[in-house]
Symmetry: C3
Subunit: 127 residues, 3 copies
């Protein structure tokens, strides 16, 4: 399980780094708190952070239940793929909004494999 926890920590540190980018972008684009809109370049940085939050809430329970009821090594591999997918998403989206598709799709694919795999593994264990 340690490798699974490691992927969770890496995903969280990556997400904390995105939060730091939002803070820097506030100054750079003059979007002062509490506003979260006002400059499209700021809004893309902000959406990278928030979309990652939205996906972490699927990823963390998903990867843990998958690890217990399917396979911990596969869970860790999918976990590393999640971190890669979020990096691809961030790099694309920070360039332009229409370059976020590949990373978003890969993130969604990893999360669906984890959640549906966990569901199947759980049901097969109980039945």
């Amino acid at each position: 399980m340690e490798l699974v926890y490691l992927t969770i920590l890496l995903a969280l540190l990556q997400y904390a780094f995105m939060a730091a980018l939002v803070g820097r972008a506030r100054g750079k684009y003059g979007v002062h708190a509490p506003a979260t809109t006002g400059h499209p370049d700021f809004e893309r940085v902000n959406r990278v952070h928030l979309n990652t939050l939205e996906n972490l809430v699927l990823f963390i329970p998903g990867v843990l239940i998958f690890a217990v009821y399917v396979n911990a090594a596969w869970a860790a591999g999918l976990g590393f793929l999640f971190v890669v997918a979020r990096a691809v998403y961030a790099v694309g989206y920070l360039k332009a909004a229409d370059k976020r598709g590949v990373g978003a799709g890969l993130t969604g694919l990893v999360n669906m494999v984890l959640l549906l795999g966990a569901l199947i593994g759980l049901v097969l264990t109980v039945v």
Copy 2:
């Protein structure tokens, strides 16, 4: 505990479905990323998704600690009720903003029973 994990997975799959509705609504109402405002019908779909995120962060740790320190079967029952509450919330809110009250209230009730129950169960175990 398997039934508790099952309710968590169902709640997460329901939440992933709401995320897909947001993606579809972007096209339907012409709200292009990174914007999250601009059409009230889009904004209601988006708020269904985000309010569910806000509540999942209470639900998941709450139902797990409740299961361990109070009762796992009751935790699973409350977990299924959480999923029902979010469906009621979504169906109501997608019709009109003032039809979100019943689902929101039921969600809040389930989460408060889980969190306060978990707190009482935990304190009674330690004392």
Copy 3:
């Protein structure tokens, strides 16, 4: 571990209280759902809630992995500090946007100690 779970529950109850403040502020400042902008006083209440959500997703897995791979008593202490940091953040930010710095900095410090400590503890256990 019970004290660690206790800090998680306290942080979640504090966060649920912030959600209730957002609901009250909707009526007080006339910001009707699904809008989340329109009055700067409402927006500060809303950002207190959402920034806490953003930080809970770092805190909860961080404090749990830190407790297992570093030290549970230190994890509980840092967990109580997280709750204090969020209270300082909320009280400051509800007064004025530029008074959120101390609470935000303390929150970030606690989360970084938890995440980096957990990472080091985990790696030292595996190696």
